[in-house]
Amino acid sequence: MSEHSTYTPGNSVEKWLDDRLPVVRFAKEHLMDFPTPKNLNYWWTFGAILVMCLGIQIVTGIILAMHYTPNVAMAFDSVEHIRRDVNGGRIIQAVHAVGASMFFVALYIHMFRGLYYGSYKAPREIIWILGVLIFILTVATAFMGYILPWGQMSFWGATVISNIFSAIPVVGENIKQLVLGGFAVGNPTLNRFFSLHYLLPFVIAAIVGLHIWALHVPGNNNPIGVEVKESRDTVAFHPYYTMKDLFAMVVFMIPFAWFVFFAPDILGHPDNYIMANSQVTPAHIVPEWYLLPFYTILRAIDFNVLFIDSKLGGVIAMGGALVMLLILPWLDTSKVRSGTFRPMFKWFYWLFAINFVALTYLGAQPAEGIYTVLAKVCTAYYFIYFLVVLPVLSRIETPKPLPTSISESVLGKAHA
């Protein structure tokens, strides 16, 4: 990266520091001077928005942890204590709870951006895989966070999800007990989930560091998917993209604040205002919305396949859905990155996006009647997209002609 370095220490103190620990040089290279394609659109601001989301969760989370009690007898009341008695607690708690949802909104947009513009293709496979890892860890973090308020949905959500482990042949039941620390979800479970919920965001932050490191090796992809060729294709990250990202963050905060201040509970479930009760199941258990697509895939497998029973089959399908994302760079071998220049891909891509929304919707519906059929159809398309559509399209599709460079493409746009 040193070829970008334009840093010359301004005074002797900076020089002294630069010889020993070149942090200022590092920041200048990576946060300020970093050459960034000048044609990035607003879908590229979600990376910065995600960093902000993680920051918000960590700061509000540390504050909540100062007032929260991880004990089955007191957890529910302690969250209410935060809402009622802690100064500003109602807002801080709401920011954390709503923040989890907003985090996933941004995550999904960021991922679908990558899917459309082919940002997972060489030489960016590692960036993509680290991103999928971040996604999985964030799901785990949010899942463990959701148990902490110790409401009915907390308890039964955790019960249902942890029972998934018992589908693993032979050792399933032992793994479940190892995870829960008991024969059912209880105090040991709450304690360890709190501990891990505190830890994981910092692990995520570390992987975000690797994600950005990996990004700064080849640099950003861009909406036309043609690599940067010369310096006039790029602008310095600062001030151009710092400003654009900051603007996008403020805009993102508007719906965020709307939920926090005017509808803090609308994204949650009323049953979570009832304290956990191991003897009574709520009539209709729904996980948090951001888990729904994968929950639908889990439930869609309600039939046995050969020697694999339906329960294990569901777990395999759900795991498989994530594996698809991990191996995606090798499934789509088309030389063209950006969906903009792939006439056939576009159709399948948007169908995939709609399909994903449908999977989310179906996860909240009772598993009966027409819904189970639709769940199977949508699950099937999810896998077909990765395993059939993308490999086949790579072979048969004739892409539209690509602009020779970013500069040419933006000039064309400006003079059109």
């Binding site: 039964w156 019960t159 249902v160 942890s162 029972n163 998934i164 007990q177 190892l178 995870v179 620390g181 008991g182 024969f183 059912a184 209880g186 040991p188 360890r192 191991s278 003897q279 009574v280 199941t281 009539a283 209709h284 258990i285 439930r299 309600d302 029973d309 339906s310 329960k311 009772p366 598993a367 009966e368």
Partner: protein, 175 residues
């Protein structure tokens, strides 16, 4: 000859490497295992592994839910009709074939003792409902019959009968 000596010294060196590595791995495993094993159910959780319960107070046609190892357990005093219905079902109709006799204690056929968690994903089924006069799990729609056997829905197995004994005529010991 020189190569021969070199060879054997290489072999000895390889062996040393492997042996050191193996011993190191054993040491590391010995340290890691307790760190993982602490996650398993602790002594106070296991202490509740066995409980006694007097079933005599439950009137016919009613159930109570008790707690064993943190799990809810149904104890049902079945009516004669329920027993008869359960025994009339041919085994071939069952997803997880088990006779009614196998699920109760001889001489105490009216008492059905089962862990209350649905064998699908662990919800608590609702009693006296469903299409088979037994239990119905609202979570994903599993129906159990009057012997707690799975009859329809995603659950793979019958409601689990925990290990228990009648220590006297009405006193059961679970676990």
């Amino acid at each position: 000859m020189a190569t021969q000596a070199e060879h054997s010294s290489t072999n000895r060196r390889d062996f040393l490497y492997v042996a050191t590595g193996a011993v190191g791995a054993v040491g590391a495993a010995a340290v890691v295992w307790p760190l993982i094993n602490q996650l398993n159910p602790d002594a106070s959780t296991l202490a509740l592994a066995s409980i006694e319960f007097d079933v005599g107070a439950i009137p016919e046609g009613q159930s109570v839910t008790i707690t064993w190892r943190g799990l809810p357990v149904f104890v049902r005093h079945r009516t004669a009709a329920e027993i008869e219905e359960a025994r009339a079902v041919p085994l071939a109709d069952l997803k997880d074939p088990q006779t009614d006799e196998e699920r109760v204690k001889e001489g105490h056929e009216q008492w059905l003792v089962m862990i209350a968690n649905c064998t699908h994903l662990g919800c608590i089924p609702v009693g006296e409902s469903g299409d088979f006069d037994g239990w119905f799990c609202p979570c994903h729609g599993s129906h159990y019959d009057s012997a707690g056997r799975i009859r329809r829905g995603p659950a793979p197995a019958n409601l689990v009968v925990p290990p228990y004994e009648f220590v006297s005529d009405t006193l059961i010991q679970i676990g």
